[in-house]
Amino acid sequence: MLKKELIFRNPLRLTGHEAEDILHSGGFGAVLARAGLGKTAILVQLALDSLLRSRNVLHISLDDSVKKVCLWYEEVFRNIADQYNIRQIEELWEAAVSHRLIMTFKVDGFSVPKLEERLTDLIEQKIFLPQVILIDGLPFDKGIRESLTELKKLAENSSMHVWFTVRTHRHDEPGLDGMPASLLHLSDLFDIIIQLQPEGKEIHVKALKGGLEACDYPELLLDPSTMLVRQ
């Protein structure tokens, strides 16, 4: 009951995809923002949405320690529960966490072949079969297209979809299609691109591609005090 309520109330489901996963197998999604605006918070909300539906989520962080990633989850989960006045969340939390695996790498030590090796370990030994992968902190620099293409194949073959955080910079000029410089010539690989945009005191959640394009959905904001998405 509680679980259903949380899933139903998760505002991220308002991105225009009511049923099941927002992305299909092999699909890529990106959360874009400048540093400190709440990319990880969005990623964690996406993860919790999947975890509550008993989907296995592999969270890969290239910036933060395991402890910090865990803190993000605890904080966001507590805020969601507080927001909807849901009590006795321990069981729900325990159930959700059992579907989550966190992996942290040093940025320099991370590569797609390395991830593939780790995934093979996990899958072959039936330790953990991820259905959703989140990659937080991957630098979108030179040579990234090759890595992403490789990863897309891997995701398709393993029936997974992948969400990324992409850091943008204030001084970067957007491309002709409005895409920020970091995703220039890469947007074809992504099915959904969400951008966090500060406007005055508010942070708007806008879709650059997929999902939110349809104007039928209410405009979403990121509440800076709870880091949760709200209407």
């Binding site: 395991v66 321990e90 695996l101 992996m103 370990d121």
Partner: protein, 695 residues
């Protein structure tokens, strides 16, 4: 004579096992002239290090109980608590850290930051203990202090900064370059007691200049004065030390020193650092809870004139009776004083007051605020607070985990039986995580604790210290029973077998509760059960908790509400209602979907990256949930939750999987329901056992 508390340092020495902390303590005591000869931990002279006062510790080369000692260095008085490195004894480490104002984190220059260093570091963080790092064993082959400093930064998140650089390494390790004075320091003489200060060797000069700049950079974040001086190229030693001190006390900097305690190199500078960089008692904020004000937090003042607040952090049963180690936080504790134990409310008269030096002691008249000492003949438990009658304060209670593993012990002969009970009595008073009881079913004495090694050591201590030879059974996991849903009961106990009859009816319901072991609520109205029989009902229910009806494990997480019943003017009695409650319990319990819970441990394995797949597999096979893996480049840290029942013998498995290169720590996490397959297995075993008992 006592100095002012500005010149007091209460420090601990914490580390991973075998990093050499006891050796370091031994050298500290030698240089401060508390002992006159050095005995190594596993020394050929058979004397053992001074701080390892227990026989067993000397033999195994490990420190089991924290021994307190004090020494003097450069007009400062240093109280040292030597702490054990095994995770099984972390209650000792935690108790020690609670009373400390600072610590030396000893790291091995070869092994670096190991899993236990991470646990110890977390404990230091919890108690906000500022620390210095000492990278020991620089004479060993493979020594690499720079790598350890890097690990301090990346693995433990310390802002580690080198205060010294080594002159040579491994077999060529000669001394250190002090980056504050920019001098080379050598340790001459048989025991390294003669310090020779020289100019920095030419070959190390540029490295030393670079490292000093790094040090100034880091330290200047804590002192504008230093920053200005650095810009003007006018940094004095005092300015640099005072900035590093400020950062250290705020836990923003971890100054790193290097040496080899075993080879008597680099120990005196760490003593200088203790006096120069670690805080005195008044620089640390200590909090107590005010029992008269809803346990509001109160800051203690460290003033010897104020009413007494002292904390008993360790109890030992010595040859002269019970010895209680105390830290005085406020006021003064003097011989002849009358003090109050806040937990028991008992008035106590202070007899002898002493200062301990491992297992030797020295009588002192009083212990002032900020000091650590020992009391004789005071009846108390560890963790108790002593106060003056004018205050109603208690020190924050420590987190004490429940034991998770049990072992049956049987004395080999009748003489051993008496000694065994003496030993058990002492151990359970000294260590709150060690429990003992007699099994009603088998009559065996059962000991419970936090891990296999924990219990093993106590069995050994019984043999050594009390001459109590015992045989041990196989360790058993402490399972528990609980219910999962609300169930009603309505039971009538009726017996008419000649003479006075027995009659009692108890009705109500039982339901699961999360944070309590057992709750009993009386909602009887209109005297359906007369008031005098209500305690008998509660007693009847409580009696059922020890041995659950499902599989005879203790029942927890249960709330009983009685709301109706019936009595008979002649046949009702306390006994009848106790029996009725028992019947009601059994009736309700069967309907409340009882389940078995087992202890789940948090396991952290640290392994070279190439074995991470194999290690994850081994954890997965043990019904483990792998929570995370942290890739550190050459090493990988895997976190998992695994049932304790699956962890027996894991160290051997891990060793063979990783050629002995991986290690793990384990601590209790939570009780969780066992899967059906395991529950069936347990039921089978329980049935077999029952059959055997009947036969």
């Amino acid at each position: 004579m006592e100095k002012t508390s500005e010149k007091v340092r209460n420090i601990g020495i914490s580390a991973h096992i075998d990093s050499g902390k006891t050796t370091l303590t031994e050298r500290i005591l030698f240089y401060t002239k508390r002992i006159h000869a050095i005995h190594d931990v596993k020394g050929k002279d058979g004397v053992g290090a001074t701080m390892d006062s227990m026989e067993l510790e000397k033999e195994r080369g490990i420190t089991i109980a924290s021994a307190a000692t004090y020494c003097e260095w450069q007009d400062h008085e240093i109280n040292i608590i030597d702490t054990p490195g095994h995770v099984d004894f972390t209650i000792e480490v935690e108790r020690a850290l609670k009373v400390l104002d600072g610590a030396i984190l000893v790291l091995c220059s070869v092994g670096g930051v190991q899993s236990q260093s991470i646990t110890v570091d977390q404990q230091m963080k919890r108690y906000k203990v500022p620390c210095l790092a000492f990278i020991n064993k620089c004479d060993r082959s493979g020594a690499n202090p720079s790598r350890v400093i890097e690990q301090l930064k990346t693995k433990l998140g310390h802002n580690a900064v080198a205060m010294q650089i080594p002159i040579g390494l491994e077999a060529d390790f000669e001394g250190v370059v002090d980056l504050v004075s920019m001098k080379a320091v050598y340790f001459d003489g048989i025991n390294g007691e003669n310090i020779r200060v020289e100019d920095i060797p030419e070959s190390l000069l540029s490295e030393a200049v670079g490292k000093r700049e790094e040090l100034i950079d880091v330290a200047s974040m804590f002192s504008d004065e230093l920053m200005e001086a650095a810009l003007e190229d006018n940094v004095t030693d005092e300015l640099l030390i005072s900035a590093v001190r400020r950062g250290t006390i705020a836990r923003e900097i971890t100054p790193v020193f290097i040496g080899s305690a075993y080879k008597n190199k680099g120990v005196q500078p760490i003593l200088d650092a203790v006096t120069n960089l670690l805080p005195c008692p008044s620089e640390i904020e200590n909090l107590a809870l005010d029992l008269s004000n809803n346990e509001a937090e109160v800051i203690l003042s460290n003033d010897p004139q104020k009413p007494l607040v002292a904390y008993a952090f360790k109890i030992e049963e010595g040859q002269y009776g019970q010895l209680t180690y105390v830290r005085v936080y406020q006021g003064t504790l003097a011989k002849g004083d009358t003090i109050f134990n806040i937990r028991t409310g008992k008035k106590l008269k202070v007899g002898r007051v002493a200062r301990m030096h491992a297992n030797q002691m020295e009588d002192i008249g009083k212990i002032s605020a900020g000091y650590i000492g020992a009391l004789f003949g005071i009846d108390c438990a560890s963790g108790d607070t002593f106060v003056h009658r004018d205050v109603n304060l208690t020190m924050t209670s420590m987190y004490i985990p429940e034991p998770v593993i049990s072992l049956a012990i049987i004395p080999k002969h009748s003489a051993a039986e008496v000694n065994m009970s003496k030993a058990l009595n002492r151990f359970s008073k000294e260590d709150p995580t060690f429990r003992t009881f007699v099994s009603e079913e088998t009559g065996d004495t059962i000991i419970s604790g936090m891990g296999e090694l924990h219990l093993e050591v106590y069995v050994e201590r019984m043999r050594r210290e009390y001459n109590a030879e015992v045989t041990t059974g196989t360790p058993t996991v402490s399972y528990r029973e609980t219910i999962t849903r609300l169930a009603e009961f309505n039971y009538t106990h009726k017996k008419q077998t000649g003479g006075a009859g027995q009659f009692g009816r108890v009705a109500g319901y039982m339901e699961p509760v999360i944070e309590e072991e057992f709750v009993f609520e009386n909602k009887i109205t209109g005297g359906a059960i007369p008031t005098q029989f209500i305690p008998a009902c509660e007693k009847g229910f409580r009696k059922c908790l020890g041995k659950g009806p499902k599989m005879e494990f203790p029942v927890t997480g249960l709330k009983i509400v009685i709301n109706d019943g019936q009595s008979h003017s002649v046949d009702s009695s306390e006994m009848a209602f106790q029996a009725a409650a028992r019947g009601a319990f059994l009736e309700g319990y069967a309907k409340a979907k009882p389940v078995i819970h087992e202890p789940i441990m948090k396991v952290v394995v640290e392994t070279p990256t190439e074995y991470q797949g194999a290690v994850m597999g081994s954890l997965n096979q043990r019904r483990g949930i792998i929570l995370a893996s942290q890739d550190e480049g050459y090493i990988c840290v895997i976190e998992a939750q695994i049932p304790l029942a699956e962890m027996f013998g894991y160290s051997t498995v891990l060793r063979s999987l990783t050629q002995g290169k991986a290690q793990f720590t384990m601590e209790f996490y939570i009780y969780k329901q066992v899967p059906n397959s395991v529950a069936e297995e347990l039921a089978k075993k329980a049935a077999e056992k029952k059959k055997k008992n009947v036969a």
